[in-house]
Amino acid sequence: MDREIAGIMLSFALYLTYFLIPLVPSILIYKIFPSTSVVASGSFSGLKINSSGAFAAYLITLVISINALSETEARILEIRNPNEPTWSIIGTLELRDGEGNVINNPLLFDLLEISLEPRVLSSANGDIHFKIPGSPDGSPPKRMITLDVKGFGRGKINLTSEAALTGSDMVVNYQTRTIEFSEPIEITTLTQPGQRYSETSYMTPVTGAGE
């Protein structure tokens, strides 16, 4: 049996487990202690819950088991897709001019493009949070990530070596498969201060020309 089929069967078994296992304590409560009152009330997933008896016991066990089984679900997903475990890259970008001054212009983040070598499509805004395929052995992806703000400048995230992953601004969590940056990732303009231009007359853009 290949991994994909095994993964699907395990997923199916897991979802059955989600609903069947909580039945055991509720039946036991119903049979052994018929007079014991179990009450569950409150809100769950946006729904108002107010139940009692065996169904309340079922509900409580169901809620507890969902948390416990979520970790198992992640492992099953890994079995189904072993070659592409994903890692989350989380961080904040900081734009700087040629003299090192921070530029706070959120409009420039609209021009941001993130690319990987080898290329994998992804997108982000000022606060970046994206997933990239990891190595088959489960270690972090060996990639160079380029953050390109078109017309402004570029920044890079170097994950190509073990040494790069031990950087002081980078927290690598192997459990959650997350690489989080404690310091902003700098995007510096490619323009040097000496390249400034004097005010001149510019072409006037037209609207609807490309329609």
Partner: protein, 105 residues
């Protein structure tokens, strides 16, 4: 002899019907208002034909914000910056043509 001379002249005139375009893309510093060359801007030259808009040339500006488009046939074109800023330009029949700079908003 006259025919050969005419053919050569015709050939040379055809060669002259291509212009090397040059221009610059600027960007304004959001705080100081200083003007900088826009590096990494996408500059596309588009011509409108009976079949709709056709992309003629694409250039990515370097750190100097300059773009160069060689051997462009004279005519009317749209210069598109970063896929959203359109400028109507006329390419004239001369060896080199400098276009007015464009400012990225």
């Amino acid at each position: 002899m006259k025919t050969i001379a005419f053919t050569i002249l015709l050939f040379l005139s055809e060669l002259a019907l291509a212009t090397n375009l040059r221009g610059r893309v600027d960007i304004r510093h959001p705080y100081t208002g200083d003007l900088f060359p826009a590096s990494g801007a996408t500059v596309e030259l588009i011509v409108f034909t009976n079949f709709g808009p056709q992309l003629v040339y694409t250039y990515f500006t370097g750190s100097d914000g300059m773009y160069y488009m060689p051997s462009i046939i004279p005519g009317n074109y749209i210069l598109r910056i970063n896929g959203y800023l359109d400028y109507q330009i006329q390419v004239v029949n001369m060896p080199y043509q400098d276009l007015q700079p464009v400012l990225m908003q």
